[in-house]
Amino acid sequence: MEVKTASFEKVEKKAMTVSGAEAVIKCLLEEGVETIYGYPGGAIMPVYDELFKYQDKIHHVLTRHEQGATHAAQGYARVSGKVGVAVATSGPGATNLVTGIADAMIDSTPMVCITGQVGSNLLGSDAFQETDIVGISTPITKWNYQITKAEEIPEIIAKAFYIARSGRPGPVLVDITKDAQFASLDFTYKKCSGIRSYKPYPEVNLLEVERAAGVINNAKKPLIVFGQGVILGGAEDLLKKVVEKAGIPSAWTILGLSALPTDHPLNVGMVGMHGNYAPNLLTNECDVLIAIGMRFDDRVTGNLEHYAKQAKIIHFEIDPAEVNKNVHTDYPVLGNVKETLNSLLDLLKENQHTEWHDRFKELYKEEYKKVVSLNLDVSKPDIHMAEVIQQINEFSKGDAVIVSDVGQHQMKACRYGKFNQTRSNVTSGGLGTMGFALPAAMGAKMAVPEREVVAVIGDGGYQMTIQELGTIFQTKIPVKIVVLNNGFLGMVRQWQQLFFDKRYASTEMINPDFVTIAKGYHLKTNKVTERSELKAAVKEMMESKEAYFLEVKVEQEENVFPMIPTGAAVSDILLE
C-alpha cells in the first residue's frame, strides 16, 4: 500500500514538472493568448521547440523581422484590446524589438515581449549574441525583468501581463536566460491580481468630479478634446452620452479618433498640427477646455505659451504624472474615465450651446472651401491622397479598420477616414514610426478577421518593413494594402518646401516596381495612375477575399493643410 501511494505521488509530481520553456507556453495559454508574433534564434530555441508541440493551441506568426513582430503585436492589441505578444532571441533579435517597444510605450499599447538571453553563467561576459536588453529597454518599458531561474517564470509572466494591461497600459519585456528555459520546475499558475507597490487606477474623488461638473454646467463655450484614454478605458459610450447631454463640441487627438463616430454632429474633427481649423482656432476662444484621456502632446498644443490661456482647463486622466505635466490644469479629475465620466454624466445639465456650435460650422465651411474641396478636387490631373481615402470610405461604409503609417498619407487617412466603430484607427502617434502600418495591419486583421482592414502607407514607410509581405503571403492574412506613391518622403519634403527654401535634401525616392515585388510574394495586385481607374480598383480590392496590394500614383508635391507651424500657437493655424 505504501509503495502504491509513493508511486502515485511520483506520477503526480512528474505530471507537474515542466521545462522553463514549456512553462512559458503554459503561462501564455493561461493568459488566454492565441496568437504570438516572433522570430526564432539560438537563445530562444527551447521556447520555439515547445511552441512546435503546442502549435494547435498557439498560432505563432513568423514575421520577417523582429520589428515586424512588435508592430504586428501592437496592431493586434490596439484593435482587440488584448495584450499583444512578441518573441525574439537575444542580441540582435532583442534590439530589433526596440522601435516597436518604444512605440507601444508612448502610445500606451499593452504588449508583452519575451526575449531569450544567453545562459546565466555567461551574463556580462560579452558572449555571442548577448546584449543587456533589460538595460536597453528600461526607459521604454512600463516594466521589465530578467529571469535567470526557471521557477521564476510563472510569477514573472503573470506579473508582466497584469502590468501590461492594467491602468495606463504599456509594454513589458521579460528576458529569459537559456538555462532557465532548459531547467525544470513544478508548474502552477496564478494570475496576478495586484502588486504591492503598483496602483493602476487612482481612486476617483467625487469632489473633483462635482467641481468639474459645476464648471462645465456654467460654461458658455466649452470644448472637449478626447484622446485614446477613452478607448483604453472602454468609455466610448459614456463619452457619447456626455457629449450629447451637455451639447459640447468635441474634437479628437490622432489616437482618440474613432472613439466617437466621425459623422456624429458634435464631432468637430482633429486637433493639432494638421488637425481641423475650427477646433484648433477655437481652443483659444473656448471658456472651458475639457481634456479627456489625452496628454497635451506638443503636436496637439503647439506653443504652450499661447495654448488655451483664456480657458479653465479640466483634465480627466488616469495617470497622475500627466496632470500639469505640459499644461496647467485648473480642475484635475483623476481615475479611469469609465468611472469618472459615469459619475460626471449624472451631474451634467442638458445643454445645447447652439451658437457656439455654429461657430465650428462656420469655420468648417471656410476650411472646406480652402482645403477640403481642393483635396477632393477632381479637375486637377493628379490624384489626391484624400480621394483615395474617400473611395475606401465609399466601399467600407465606415466599418473598416484603417491602419496608417506615418507621414502625409497618415494625416489624410485620419482627417478623411470615416469611422463608425471604436478601435478602428490604428496609427503610430507619439513615436511617429515609419514602417509601422504593414505589420500592424497584419496584427489588426488577425484580431478582427471578420472586419475589413486596410493599410494606408506611403512609399517611404512601406519600404521600411516591406519584407512583411512575406508574412502576409505565408499566413494568407487577407489584409488590404494601399500604397500612396508620390515618389517623395512627402512630409519632410513639405517642410523643406515651406521652411528650407525648397531644398529637397534626400527626400526624393526612386522607387522599385512595387507591383512586381508584391507579385513576387504572390499577392493580388493593381496599380492606378489615372483617376478614372481609381473607383474600380478600390472596389476590386475591397471585394477581394485575399490579401491585395494596390499602388496609387498620387500628386507628387501635394501639401497637408491646415498646418500649425512649429512654435506657433494653435490659433495661428494656416489654411494655405
Binding site: 516594466w143 491580481s193 504591492r196 507597490s197 504624472a321
Partner: protein, 179 residues
C-alpha cells in the same frame, strides 16, 4: 522659478534594476544628481533612496510624478532642506607622522565632534558626520597635514514631518485587486 536643493525620498521594493530606472528619469532631463544613497528603510523589505538635486519646484514635482509611475516604487516625496534633518559622513586618511607632530590637530578633532576610527603607524582615519559645511571645514583644516585620502557619503535625511509609509502600503494592498 528659483533652483534650490531638494531631497527626494523614494520608498521602493527591494528589486534589481530599479536604481537604473530611477537614475534614467534624471538623466533624460539632464539633471545632475548631487548625491544618492540607498538603504533599507524603517519598513521591512522596503528600500529607501535619498537623492539630492538642484532644480526648480516645478521640475521636482514632475520628476517625483515620473518616479512614482515606476511599478516598484511605493511612494516618492520631495522636501526642501528646511523640512529635513540631513547629515553626511566623511572619512579622512592622514599621515600618522603629521598627526603626531602637531598636537593641535587632536584638539580640533575634539572640537568638531569628529572621531578617530583607525590608527596605524602609517596613517590615521578620522570620521566626521555633519552638515556639508562642517565636513568641508574639517577637510580644509586637515588638508595641510597631508590628506592621503578623502571620501564623503551621499546625504542621508529624515523628514521633520511623518512619512506614513506603512499606512500607504496597507492602502495599496486594499486597492490593488483589479485583474
Amino acid at each position: 522659478m528659483e533652483k534650490k536643493n531638494y531631497t527626494v525620498s523614494i520608498y521602493t521594493e527591494n528589486n534589481l534594476g530599479l536604481l537604473s530606472r530611477i537614475a534614467a528619469i534624471f538623466l533624460r532631463r539632464h539633471i545632475n544628481i548631487e548625491s544618492i544613497t540607498a538603504s533599507p528603510s524603517e519598513v521591512n523589505d522596503v528600500m529607501r533612496f535619498i537623492i539630492v538635486v538642484n532644480v526648480t519646484e516645478d521640475q521636482i514635482k514632475k520628476i517625483v510624478g515620473q518616479i512614482e509611475k515606476q511599478i516598484e516604487v511605493i511612494r516618492a516625496f520631495y522636501h526642501t532642506q528646511e523640512e529635513t534633518i540631513f547629515q553626511e559622513t566623511a572619512l579622512y586618511k592622514i599621515k600618522s607622522q603629521s598627526f603626531l607632530d602637531d598636537h593641535s590637530i587632536q584638539d580640533f578633532i575634539k572640537e568638531t565632534n569628529a572621531r578617530i576610527v583607525t590608527v596605524t603607524t602609517e596613517f590615521f582615519v578620522i570620521e566626521k558626520t555633519g552638515k556639508r559645511k562642517e565636513v568641508d571645514e574639517l577637510y580644509d583644516t586637515l588638508k595641510p597635514y597631508g590628506l592621503m585620502q578623502f571620501v564623503r557619503s551621499g546625504t542621508i535625511a529624515v523628514t521633520k514631518n511623518e512619512m506614513p509609509i506603512s499606512g500607504i502600503l496597507e492602502k495599496f494592498n486594499t486597492t490593488n485587486s483589479i485583474s
